[in-house]
Amino acid sequence: MSGAPDRPDLIGQRIPRHDARDKVTATIAYAADWAMPGMLHAVVVRSPYPSAQIRRLDAARASAMPGVVAILTAKDVPHNTLATDVPGQTTTVGPLRAHLHVLAEDRVRYQGEPVALVAAETLEQARAAAEAVEVDYEPLPGVFDTATALAPGAPRVHEAGNLLAEWRIARGDVAAALAGAAVVIDGEYETSFVDSGYIEPEAGVAWIDGDGVVTIRLATQVIEHYRDVAEVLGVPQNRVRVIGTYVGGGFGGKEDVTVEVYLGLLAWKTRRPVKMVWTRQESLLSRAKRHPYRLRYRTGASRSGEIVAQQVEIVGDSGAYAYLSALVLLYSTVTAAGPYRVPNVAVHARVAYTNNPPTSAMRGFGAMQVVFGYESQMDRVGAALGLDPVHVREVNALRRGDTLPVGQVIETHVALPVLARRAWDSLGEPTPPRAPHVRVGRGLACNLQPYGRIVWLHDWSSAWVGFEMDGSLVVRCGAPDVGGGQASSLCQIAAGVLGVPLARVSVHISDSALTPLSGTTTASRQLYMSGNATLKAARELREQVLGVAASMLGVAAIELDLVEGEVRARDGRTLALKDVLAGCARASVPRSRLAVYHAPAGEPIGFMKVGGPDMAPHTPQTLAHGPAEPGRGSGKVFPDYTFGAHAAEVEVDTETGVVRILKYVAAHDVGRAINPTSVEGQIQGGVVQGLGYGLLEEVLLDEGVNQTTSFASYLIPAAGDVPDVQPIVCESGEGLGPYGARGIGEPPIGPPAAAIANAIAAATGARLARLPMTGERVLRALGALDGKDG
């Protein structure tokens, strides 16, 4: 190796993000801020019915309206099928072939399903024409809950049946272990249907650029959807370009395609720039949401609190289309027993089609819903045995070398006992109740969340790092920045390695034509993957530059360091970076480096069976049976996991059922905090979103018709609902990301609902089994209100 080891001076520093000021002063051009000369405005015509046959579709009258330039229906789409298997994927994913029609052909399966596209000179004209598109629907029977959907004889959402995917884990002998357990706890839980609820609705502008390339500038987590647009248009993939903007919240909702295919089609047909911005109502109506789950747990424990068996049944609602449901369910299946060593586990997980809005990726991706199940159970085990909440988790916590039920061996440090203890102790002195009708209690919840993509997806990311002649630095990386500070962290890594002040670094991100592809900003993978790619490129570039400096100074490269824009030799001599770069040019040594980082890959441990339109009839898939057999895959599903423990102190008004959070502490082992401020922001943001899930948010449907399509009825936490969230950042240095970092984007959203449910139980003795835990549900759980659950 040439050059002294780089000193990551900037790693771990609270560096203000370069985009923060621009966002606060509103100088960032978000997707909806873009405008172009001659630009048309486009809207989507959506089905008002959750289940109907399209008898007739007539756009003649609408087409003749003032300002209307194009109206597209299914027959105008060159290839009307959109693959939704795994966004941004470059390897095949076995038999998983989830897909849907870009525009509905003769059948609509959920309220809000796109039926036609309208482009007009003004937005008002486009909206007026959209209302004038005549569609004759014949309403059909639908299914609106999973129990009905899976019952024999239910109306079929898709021809092949309503069971979309099924996974099983069978490890050890659950029946025998339960029979021998000192306590057996049964629990049924219901998690709610929630929306990403981001502030920025789906938006973008498309145009045919000077070179004929269809160019789409939009808010997305996945610029690789340019390939999907190309497939729909029937043009080579290199004729479509996606430019990702800074994203005003993604959370998985901008992982699947949103507006890009519609915009691509309209720009292609009209040859004019076209803009589409979904309204809030439209976004809440039709964008894919988080799967509501029904969970059934049977947990057996020994007298000393060791979990001896976990039997889990999961049923999720996929809504009308598959999207990522099979994989979301896989995450749930693998993490269903929690961050604990459990010798005997049986998991049976199913996800069904209904005529509800589709569900897909959302922060936590299936590893979230089950936390409410396994942590409620853990608390009940502790209570039944008289063990304190920290202790019962300490006893069971996974350790390095332990095996998850699916057969994956945990290869890195697990800080769970420390996290649980620190979170719990940080609550400090108990708060006395402020009135006789108020009870105060504390709850703890831990979780594990995979980061990085499933190992058999063979994930990779690339980044380019290069010097300009004046010594300023450029980073190019395809990673979209969804507000987590993705771009800023890449700068920090490159600047640290190359000894360049941050003010001298520029980063270009999220452009499928001009930045090296780096995969999706999902799965808590971007710092892990693109951070590693950037680190690799920066280190290789450092070697190149120091190699040239070494020959200029006539010393070994190991004698040299690169700091503050100059090369310093151990003997005290220095060279200006500019002169070294000129030296590189003379020596024909490039001043840039492209690096690709490949995540550890693995073979599928089974293969996926997915039902649905035109797919093979479904058969259940067993993921693991006993210890992993040699030659049948290692049982490894994910690269690694992030662990966390949250503690909450709440007060419950026993007369109104209202729960108020008094204190909240969230501890995570993030491996290494590249920028602690960004890490804390992720933790606090995740907790707030998790509290919304626990206490407030709920998509309400009446036979598939959405009753909550505005922020007046879909209640996300507002300033008055948010407690002071105290983050605790632990750094084991054991992650797979740069400098030992772990993914932290998703993990903090997992525990809040369970932590609060456990705190409510501690305060009142009432066990909340259904989310969100509204005042009304708390009151019912307290037995203080009769009647049906509303």
């Binding site: 109104t656 507002a718 005042g775």
Partner: protein, 288 residues
């Protein structure tokens, strides 16, 4: 953009004339209800008559009354020393309205004329027995608060009438309290309760008013609760019985925010709390 005409008259007379002359003309006050309605295309008026220039923003203490102009902003109601001293119920109620941004612009007249069934100020006005002054093409008239609110978003005002002021009797020898519960702080409440309790020298309730918001199309006075209190010593048991009597007469509906059963339960709990607070205040304030 849907085009509309915009006018900003300087006198009440001009404003009334514009309302009378044009079908579908709408007054614009603080815009906190109207502008969202325009944004969502729930209202598409052809003419907007902006009344912010009219001289209707004063708070005046007169003999036995506080006269509040229709353009008094929510935050003024919250902070005005006259309101806090002479009609503290209004200051307490308005603090629950929306958030600081809404209270900076929203007006008293706008809130009352808009008549959202869950809004706080209509409930407080009915509890205080206020009288509303309206001016229309046919002249001016007074409307008692109890007759003003007819149904959701529907009042006794004619299409060409402007609410100009509200006369609120000062609160003497009585304690008042306003209590509510919303899904989130700052939202329209699931249930609100205004209570006014006057206690005589013998320690008995001389008069009581209990008014609910959010349970029906308009503020609802509870005769059963008031009857249960009048003439009795306001013991905790008596108050609980009154709150329970109130609940038994209520039939609130279910919507996306809460079931009718939960609303009815809350009505009892909140009525009890409001009556307790109002009674304590009645017993501790000096009789003015």
């Amino acid at each position: 953009m849907i085009p509309f005409e915009y006018h900003a008259p300087a006198t009440v007379g001009d404003a009334v004339a514009m309302l009378a002359a044009r079908d579908g003309a709408k007054l614009l006050a603080g815009g906190q209800s109207l502008v969202p309605a325009l944004t969502y295309r729930l209202a598409r008026p052809g003419v907007l008559v902006d009344i912010n220039a009219l001289p209707l923003a004063d708070v005046v203490r007169t003999n036995g009354h506080v006269r509040l102009g229709a353009l008094v902003r929510h935050h003024v109601l919250e902070e005005s020393p006259d309101v806090r001293r002479w009609c503290p119920l209004l200051a307490e109620a308005v603090a629950y309205v929306g958030n600081a941004r809404v209270r900076t612009l929203g007006t008293l007249g706008g809130s009352l004329a808009h008549a959202d069934p869950a809004a706080e100020l209509p409930v407080a006005m009915v509890a205080l027995d206020a009288r509303f002054a309206a001016v229309g093409a046919a002249g001016s008239r007074e409307i008692p608060a109890g007759e003003f609110f007819r149904a959701p978003l529907t009042t006794a005002l004619a299409a060409d009438e402007i609410l100009t002021a509200v006369d609120v009797p000062v609160t003497r020898g009585a304690g008042t309290a306003f209590v509510e519960l919303a899904r989130r702080p700052g939202d329209f409440p699931l249930v609100s309760v205004a209570a006014v309790v006057a206690v005589d020298r013998a320690g008995r309730v001389a008069d009581a008013r209990v008014v609910f918001g959010g349970l029906a199309g308009a503020p609802q006075r509870s005769a059963p609760a008031e009857d249960a209190l009048r003439g009795h010593e306001p013991t905790p048991e008596r108050i609980a019985a009154a709150a329970h009597a109130a609940r038994r007469a209520l039939r609130p509906e279910t919507d996306v925010f809460a079931s009718g059963a939960y609303r009815a339960h809350l009505a009892e709990v909140l009525a009890r709390r409001a009556l307790r607070t109002a009674t304590n205040r009645a017993l501790t304030v000096e009789v003015r």
